[in-house]
């Protein structure tokens, strides 16, 4: 009955007893036994006495600390930009519920930011990392990294997608309006 590290297990398979290990990711406890939730391989952390499963199947999209999300700016307030989280990067599974995230002015980029509207505007498509999950449908986000930030910016005057013209500088191809953004290194003008 006792599972070893690397064993392939199916949902409901017994992994060990609760006296022995702490149930960790993708496991659950039932009547003193630790069981697997999904099909995958067993991973035992002897140092911390934790037992977890590394899923072999695709997993549902779950918002957790450290994951990179894609979203759209819904509102820019004095201290915080609100992001509608559309999905998790590198998965095609949709989120179980609609989630919103907030980018605090201190988390927008590495240096000092005078006004948050210099970094984000409503309608921008952004890539951000989750720093903290609040409840089930809310998260704190950060874009203070080169690969994080605005992926596609919209002109505030005519709603055209703008072209990158320099570091954190964008220009509208339609009306020539120049604006600033916290751009991602992967900006697609």
């Amino acid at each position: 009955m006792k599972a070893k590290s690397g064993d392939f297990v199916l949902p409901g398979d017994a992994l060990g007893v609760t006296e022995e290990f702490l149930p960790s990711e993708w496991t659950y406890e039932e009547e003193g036994k630790i069981r697997s939730l999904v099909a995958g391989t067993v991973s035992i952390d002897q140092k911390n006495k934790k037992i977890s499963i590394i899923p072999k199947t695709k997993s549902p999209a779950i918002l957790s600390r450290g994951v990179v999300i894609l979203g759209q700016i819904k509102d820019v307030r004095g201290q915080r930009a609100m992001v509608e989280i559309e999905g998790i990067k590198d998965t095609n599974r949709s989120l179980p519920i609609s989630c919103v995230g907030g980018i605090h002015i201190s988390q927008a980029q590495k240096g000092y930011v005078d006004k948050l509207t210099d970094d984000f505007r409503i309608g921008d498509i952004v890539e951000a990392k989750v720093t903290k999950v609040l409840g089930i449908d809310n998260a704190d986000l950060t874009t203070a990294d080169d690969e994080l930030g605005v992926l596609k910016a919209m002109c505030t005057k005519c709603r055209y997608f703008m072209n990158k013209i320099g570091k954190n500088q964008v220009k509208c191809p339609n009306c020539g309006n120049k604006e600033t953004r916290k751009l991602s290194s992967k900006y697609e003008g």
Partner: protein, 245 residues
């Protein structure tokens, strides 16, 4: 009236003399079974099952956003099922679309699968299961449930166990496992059963026809025995797909 004699009718008549069951199986013998996981590219999880002449495709989507506010549950996910028979799945063309029978089977499939799934892990969302019967030959509801739980496991949805279903019943005065279409129609009774094989908990139990108390218990035991045999194949399907030894 014109009588069309198909190969199947001939088969039934000729073999009925030699064996006690029309297709020559023993009383506790299943039809040949094949299950494959992860067959559909765009579904989150899927499975294809062949059980005798039954051919069933199951797809799982979710957990995903649930838009029907009045059915939404604030503390758990909702498992929705749609059982559908293709118009070409039966001998006489079936009128496409949901009817009384498939609506009932959809409801009971969802109720049979729900106890095994950790719905409380995904509040306010829905998990959608689609079961398409491509070819039917008796026992499609059991085949559908069996395929759907493989598809759920393939989607990586947290579960306590993989639900498995099998029927038993009475045909030609004998209690038999896994009724074929002929035995289902001509027989005296049909008892489809779904269980969670690890604990033996029953998640679906129906009976059509008449059985004595003893016969019913015999049929129930036989159906459970069949479930256990099918469960082995279910597990094999997931192992084959995801490279466990």
């Amino acid at each position: 009236m014109i009588n069309i004699i198909t190969n199947r009718d001939l088969e039934v008549k000729s073999e009925a003399k030699g064996s006690e069951r029309p297709d020559g199986r023993a009383y506790n013998e299943l039809r040949p079974l094949k299950i494959e996981a992860g067959v559909l590219e765009r579904a989150d999880g899927s499975a294809y099952l062949e059980f005798g002449d039954n051919k069933v495709l199951a797809a799982v989507y979710g957990p995903r956003e649930f838009h029907i506010r009045r059915f939404l549950k604030p503390n758990m996910a909702v498992l929705r099922c749609r059982y559908n028979m293709a118009p070409f799945s039966v001998e006489d063309r079936k009128r496409p679309g949901p009817d009384r029978r498939s609506l009932e089977i959809s409801k009971l499939t969802s109720e049979a699968l729900s106890p095994a799934v950790f719905l409380e892990k995904f509040p306010r969302s829905s998990i959608d299961v689609f079961i398409e019967v491509l070819q039917a030959e008796g026992g499609t509801r059991c085949a559908g449930i069996t395929a759907a739980s493989v598809a759920l496991a393939d989607a990586g949805i947290p579960m306590r166990d993989m639900v498995v279903a099998c029927a038993a019943g009475k045909a030609n005065g004998q209690i038999v496992m896994d009724l074929s279409e002929w035995e289902d129609k001509e027989g005296e009774a049909d008892v489809p059963v779904a269980i969670m094989p690890r604990t033996g908990e029953i998640t679906l139990l129906q009976m059509d026809g008449q059985l004595t108390k003893d016969e019913f218990e015999q049929a129930l035991d036989l159906a459970k025995e069949g479930c256990m045999k099918i469960s082995v194949e279910q597990k094999k399907a997931i192992k084959n797909r995801y490279g466990g030894d």
